[in-house]
């Protein structure tokens, strides 16, 4: 890949806890990714639209509201509606997500969920490995 990996860091829904999203965004940028941060209080449509328009490789959704099971699938539905390809796009979720819900999110097609305390290095390594892997295989999610 000759271009930088593009990552959208998104806050979706009404919660204002943006410490995690902003710290991760800053570290991803420092790690050499191109990072777009949506700012707060975005609707699923707005996040999906930004992902498609900005032609990102990764959508990282940060949630601390407990609304992940409602909002994350909405974002994914709109990405497809707006012409994005979830077979190639890596979707990750970060924030307060109970263990049972992590499995549910993965069944819905989320690639990975990172809970608080995850070293950011781990997220960086994951993105570096997963983006080319998904691009190559066009793996069905």
């Amino acid at each position: 890949m000759d271009r930088k990996i593009r990552v959208l860091v998104a806050k979706v829904g009404l919660d204002g806890h943006d410490r995690g999203a902003k710290v991760v965004a800053r570290f991803l940028r420092d790690a050499g990714f191109e990072v777009i941060y949506t700012g707060l209080h975005r609707t699923p449509e707005e996040v999906a639209m930004a992902a498609v328009q900005e032609d990102v490789d990764v959508v990282g959704i940060s949630l601390h509201s407990g609304a992940h099971l409602t909002l994350v699938p909405k974002v994914m539905k709109y990405i497809e509606e707006f012409g994005g390809d979830l077979n190639e796009l890596v979707v990750i979720v970060g924030g307060i997500v109970p263990a049972d819900d992590i499995d549910k999110l993965k069944e819905m097609g989320v690639d990975e969920v990172f809970i608080p305390g995850t070293p950011i290095e781990k997220i960086i390594d994951y993105i570096k490995a997963r983006v080319p892997e998904k691009k190559r295989t066009g793996e069905k999610v």
């Binding site: 829904g13 410490r19 570290f27 990072v35 407990g66």
Partner: protein
């Protein structure tokens, strides 16, 4: 505080100790680290002695509890007279669910209530709003109309239990609902006790529950002050909050400085409105975080009290000693809790709670060990409450007042925190060309607060990532583990039930009365009158939170925060 000659002797004595005792030992064994520092980055010396606090004047800088500048506590007996209020923050699902949890907590010995609202309520949108989808009842209780409040307070006597409401943009509406419930229960308004958070400035710095722009937000808060001093004189009309500033990643010094700065801004807004400062000040309260660095937190609380007393007396010319008191609620640091090895969080919370008690808090929330995963389960919240009760009844900590006073380290650190906080305050005052109110608003506008806090958050994370700061069970002593703690599940049906109740209320209420009240509110807002009376009228007519906030949004506009990473 000490005799000059003795200090000279001591200095010599210390040099002798360094030379003959310390240095040979250091050469042989070294120390764990090159440098030791607090969470705010204050360099901690190897050892403290009287020379570190010699500049302090006991009477002027500490004095006795209940006496200016209140460094040792605002009350002359502190916890020997009455323990702090044990006020666990709680709420989830519908008003019924929360009412049941509250009653459980009161049965278990909690002594005050504290309300967690869901995001739609906090943001002033109704449960049937598309923006609320998936969020109803999730992180707190869903409140749409007075009907929900009637259910929430069913069987809870307002004249016996005080309640705190963590709410900001719709604070006026929630206060009105509380007053309306008091009216229904027949409790005189002048007897009503409780607290609304009502601190929008820190929302712009950190917590981000944003609806109206900054200036109208301060206007509505000032309306609440003006109405509140006349109508509910025992109610805390604001809880000036550093808690969220800290959770967003600030240092303890920033938390202290920005909170005091915000407090000064509110006082200036009230004075500009013509409110008598000595009437308002006793109805101001504060809210701080208690994080892991034990002594820094204790020092922060002591410094805050001393600073506020000086500010109120010397800068704003308050005459009533009660106006000089800084009374505060404390919550242990949610952001310090780990998803990994969650039982360790009980220990963290205990240390933080002890710091709050040693710091002289008036009220305390201890976090539950499972909060990095979900809202607390019943078992987890019981342990959290028991933590407070063990400190209160078994540890002996509350038996003497401010027991760490006179500790060379604690006094030095208290002084240091105060000095560093003043530096920030002067910087903010300069941004406002002498006015703290203008300074804080300017700092919001130009991103000063957000940038300062973000920088501190990133530095903290860098220290954790690179192992300079240890988090037990996360970057050191980690294990492979399966999570086997019970997790509270909020009933997914809560949203449906809540939307149905709202629909029913809207069908049954007197819609003409709602319209009239909302029109009154609109004209009051447009003509810059106090919005509290029409809001109370609207609430009593069962207008919804979304409808009332809707009018304010139309008149005052809405706010979207600039994107700063």
């Amino acid at each position: 505080m000490f005799d000059e000659k003795k200090l000279e002797e001591l200095k010599k004595r210390r040099e002798g100790w360094e030379k003959s005792c310390l240095n040979p030992y250091l050469e042989k064994y070294g120390e764990r680290d090159e440098m030791f520092e607090t969470l705010s980055g204050i360099k901690v010396k190897r050892v403290y002695d009287p020379t570190d606090v010699a500049h302090l004047d006991y009477m002027k800088d500490l004095n006795y509890p209940g006496e200016y500048p209140y460094t040792r506590g605002v009350y002359p007996t502190m916890y020997r007279g009455r323990l702090w209020t044990m006020r666990q923050f709680s709420g989830f699902g519908t008003a019924e669910d929360t009412n049941a949890r509250w009653k459980m907590l009161l049965r278990e010995g909690q002594t005050g209530l504290s309300t967690a609202f869901d995001f739609p309520t906090l943001m002033g949108v109704d449960s049937d709003d598309p923006l609320a989808d998936g969020e109803v009842g999730k992180v707190g209780v869903a409140i749409d109309t007075l009907k929900d409040f009637e259910v929430l307070f069913d069987g809870i006597p307002l004249d016996k239990v005080s309640t705190s409401f963590t709410i900001n943009p719709p604070a006026a509406i929630i206060l009105a609902m509380y007053v309306a419930i008091g009216d229904l229960q027949g409790v005189p308004r002048e007897q009503l006790r409780g607290t609304i958070q009502n601190d929008m400035l820190k929302e712009f710095h950190a917590q981000n529950t944003l609806v109206l722009p900054p200036e109208p937000s301060v206007k509505v808060i000032t309306d609440i002050f003006e109405w509140g001093v006349e109508n509910v004189p025992k109610f805390n009309l604001i809880s000036i909050s550093g808690y969220h500033i800290r959770e967003a990643g600030s240092t303890a010094v920033q938390e202290l400085a920005f909170t005091i700065a915000d407090g000064m801004a509110y006082v200036e807004a009230a004075i500009e409105r013509g409110i008598d400062i000595d009437r308002l000040a006793p109805q101001l309260s504060f809210f701080f975080n208690s994080h892991n660095n034990f002594f820094e937190e204790i020092a922060k609380f002591r410094a805050a009290r001393r600073m506020w007393a000086k500010i109120m007396r010397e800068e704003y010319d308050a005459k009533n000693p009660r106006s000089w008191w800084l009374k505060f609620h404390t919550q242990t640091a949610g952001c310090s809790l780990t998803a990994q090895q969650p039982l360790n969080n009980i220990v963290r919370t205990t240390i933080q709670a002890m710091a709050a008690v040693l710091g002289g808090t008036q009220s305390l929330h201890t976090n539950s060990f499972d909060e990095a995963w979900a809202l607390p389960s019943e078992e987890a919240v019981r342990v959290a409450l028991r933590t407070q009760q063990i400190i209160a009844y078994e540890s002996g900590i509350p038996d003497t007042i401010d027991p760490l006073a006179g500790s060379y380290y604690v006094e030095w650190l208290t002084d240091k925190m105060e000095k560093l906080a003043w530096k920030y305050i002067e910087q903010i005052r300069k941004m406002g060309e002498g006015s703290m109110l203008r300074g804080v608003l300017t700092g919001i506008e130009n991103g000063f607060f957000v940038k300062e806090i973000s920088r501190a958050a990133a530095e903290y994370q860098r220290d954790v990532e690179e192992g300079r700061r240890t988090i037990v069970g996360v970057n050191k002593f980690a294990i492979e583990e399966d999570l086997n703690i019970p997790i509270l599940k909020v009933d997914e049906e809560a949203q449906r039930r809540q939307v149905e109740r709202l629909k029913k209320i809207k069908a049954e209420r007197d819609n003409d009365a709602v319209r009239e009240a909302l029109e009154w509110l609109r004209s009051a807002a447009e003509s810059n009158e106090n919005v509290m009376p029409p809001i109370l009228e609207a609430v009593k007519a069962y207008a919804s939170v979304g409808e009332i906030m809707g009018v304010l949004k139309e008149v005052y506009g809405t706010y979207r925060k600039p994107i700063i990473i």
